[in-house]
Subunit: 257 residues, 2 copies
């Protein structure tokens, strides 16, 4: 099995504050160049959802949002801003739980997320005035675009993951997951492999793209670090193109909705 | 914030097959010495649950297990071996779901796990004859013991995490989590920190011990690699002693049981 025995994760310094329309790949390549660093085939770039969303202009002013009837109702039961709830509903397929200060939904992309992944921190100085940030329109497609653009600019065949910190059902604390991926196999299938004793492995599939996303989060930080991009070297794992959508458990297999 | 901007993960080569009674710390130190490597304060060692369980003699022969009434009943509805189900029940506090080929329980340590985390691969050549491996008796205590023993043997103040691959509610693919931890803050509390714009962070707590466990899994592999120990360098994150039990969401906060 072609597995890495060593990994190096480095936060890329010098990524500026991102605004709508900014070219994320250009920002990354120029930040790397300033470090005399170039991308190599096999490298994996993990990019925080926040800068992707900002570049895509996914910022919304709550003052521009009109809450509908259902949002007003859910705002009452959760104690949240009805306009935020309206955005949550617009971004979602289904509300799973709504309790005090917490609304958990199935995002339109299939992810189960509190607040539909809408972000109110690190959004900008207007944050306090009700600027919020939605998830990227289609993070798998964005990851594919970044990957293609890096290939054409540098010749390097890299993996790209867009990550975001999410809460979990039975564990305290968020961990980062892959909400978009390209050039990295999202799932590694261990079925059919043999164990150390030659017996068939029962353990099924490993969410390697999520594990890469979590690893990157350890150097990205979540507070004021401003280190949204992480370069992972040495991941000799699977490299087939597979999207992060692969990691979403289909409803009919979901026992915990 | 004192966050790492770079991390190096290395699988420690040369860990032999582990048997009951083996001294895991001695095996690790001698494998590191063979690489001319010494542990430094701040290093984090991530150790696969499997070798910890083996050293603790947590192997059970199914032929020595007598299934009770409830196990026989659940074996019928899941299609699993009643003796395995008996062990699952003995290791658990509560059965959450039991469907075809799948039983999900709250492990006595609080973790929500398929099969109570009982392992049937990489257990030994007898695996096919019904040898299975339970989780360690008390992985937090074991991690503390390892950490204390490393400190006394080498003088290095390291973090220790015992990790295991587990399934998730809404995502396909397992990821590795910390089932035991010592010398590493399991949760990093971002509340009260400010974001890039000086606004208070709303994102609450990050499960850093789980993210370290997932990162390590990328180099451990799950099949025949025999690389159960990973050395993580450069994690300048939180270092207060905190147990992995901190990461278990209390029942009263759990909306998805």
């Amino acid at each position: 099995m072609d597995r890495s025995t060593g990994l190096i994760l480095t936060a890329v310094p010098g990524i500026p504050l991102v605004r709508t329309g900014d070219d994320i790949v250009a920002l990354i390549l120029s930040a790397l160049a300033a470090q005399n660093e170039t991308l190599c085939s096999g490298d994996v770039l993990v990019i925080a959802q926040k800068i992707v969303s900002k570049s895509e202009g996914r910022m919304v002013s709550l003052k521009d949002v009109e809450a509908g009837e259902r949002a007003i109702e859910l705002a009452r039961s959760t104690g949240k801003d009805p306009r935020l709830i309206q955005l949550v509903l617009t971004e979602s397929k289904e509300v799973l739980r709504a309790v005090d200060q917490l609304i958990i939904v199935v995002h339109r992309l299939g992810f189960v997320l509190a607040n539909a992944g809408i972000d109110v921190s690190n959004v900008g100085p207007e944050g306090s005035d009700g600027q919020v940030l939605l998830l990227p329109e289609n993070p798998d497609r964005t990851a594919q675009n970044y990957r293609a653009s890096i290939l054409s600019e540098t010749g390097a065949n890299v993996g790209v993951i867009i990550n975001d910190s999410v809460g979990r059902a039975w564990r305290i604390g968020t961990v980062s997951l892959a909400i978009g991926a390209a050039g990295v196999k999202a799932l590694e299938d261990h079925r059919g492999k043999v164990d150390l004793f030659g017996l068939p492995l029962k353990a099924s599939e490993e969410g390697v793209a999520d594990e890469l996303a979590s690893a990157a989060s350890l150097v990205q930080g979540q507070a004021g670090e401003g280190l949204p991009v992480v370069l992972i070297r040495g991941f000799k794992g699977p490299s087939e193109v597979q999207s992060a959508a692969t990691l979403v458990r289909p409803v009919q297999q979901d026992l915990f909705r």
